[in-house]
Subunit: 150 residues, 2 copies
C-alpha cells in the first residue's frame, strides 16, 4: 500500500510552503531539500551532512538541525526514532501519509509499512487507555531479508 509517487515535486512544494511560512531562501536549506527529495529512504542528520559534503555542497551541522526543525514544524518532514537514540528524517510526501517503520538492527535499513489491523488496534486502545494519545510511531525491530540470509 505504498502511496502515490510524486518524487520530484516535493522539494518544490516544500520550498513554497517554507516561503509561505515566512522563511527566506538560502543555499543550505535548498541543498538539503533537494537531497531529501532524491533519497527515498530516511536519513540521519549526519548522513545528510556527509552526503552533501560528498557533492561539494558543504553544510554546517547547525544548518542541518535548523532546517530539520523548520521542516518538521511545517509538517513536511517526519522524525523517526529508530532506537539507541538514533533519529532519522524523511519527507512527508502526500497529505497525511501515516505509516510506521521496520528497522533492520544489523544494517540499519529502514522500510515503511502500513497496516489497517494495527491502526484499528491502536485506535481501540486509545479510547480505553488513561492517556490522551497525541501520536504514535511504531518501530518494529528485526533483521531484513538480506541480513537474515547472510
Amino acid at each position: 500500500m505504498t502511496s502515490t509517487e510524486q518524487r520530484p515535486v516535493w522539494a518544490e512544494h516544500a520550498a513554497q510552503a517554507l516561503a509561505e511560512a515566512g522563511y527566506r531562501r538560502g543555499g543550505a536549506r535548498r541543498a538539503i531539500l533537494e537531497l531529501l527529495d532524491e533519497q527515498s529512504c530516511a536519513l540521519s542528520a549526519v548522513e545528510i551532512q556527509e552526503a552533501l559534503s560528498r557533492r561539494n555542497r558543504d553544510v554546517s551541522r547547525s544548518s542541518v538541525y535548523r532546517v530539520m526543525e523548520e521542516l518538521e514544524e511545517i509538517g513536511l518532514l517526519q522524525r523517526v526514532e529508530i532506537g539507541q537514540g538514533m533519529v532519522r528524517y524523511e519527507p512527508v510526501r502526500s497529505g497525511p501519509g501515516h505509516h510506521h517503520h521496520l528497522v533492520c538492527d544489523r544494517c540499519g535499513r529502514l522500510q515503511p509499512f502500513t497496516d489497517d489491523g494495527l491502526e484499528r488496534a491502536i485506535r481501540r486502545l486509545s479510547d480505553r487507555v488513561p492517556l490522551h494519545v497525541s501520536e504514535h510511531e511504531i518501530v518494529i525491530h528485526g533483521a531484513c531479508e538480506t541480513c537474515a540470509a547472510a
Copy 2:
C-alpha cells in the same frame, strides 16, 4: 491486566539469579538492585546514580551501566526507550510479562499496558512483512490524565 505484585522479592530473586549466572556479589550491584526494587516506576541511568548518591551510597557511572547490562542480559530488567534518546530501565517482576508503554510527553510518566488486539495485529504483521522480526516494544505518546486536566 496488571500482573501479580511481589515487590519486595524481586531484589532477592535478582540477586539469586545473578549468583546462579556466575556473578559475584558486590556493593554497587546490591545497592542498585535494592533501589530498583523499591521504585515502581522505571528509572534512567542518571536517575539511579542520583538517587543512590542522595542516600550516601555513591556508585560510579560505569557500575550503573554495567549492572544494567548484566540485568538485562539475564532478563531481569527491561530497557524502555521513551524517545529523544532517553532510556529508562524497569524490573521485570513476573515471568515473561510482555507489555508496552504509554509515555506522558509532559511529565515523563511511564505506564505499562497490554493489549491482545495489538499483539494479534503485530503477530499477523510479522508474518507478512519482509523482516525477520526479533522484538517489538511499542511506545505510545500523549498526555496523561493529570497533565491533560491541567
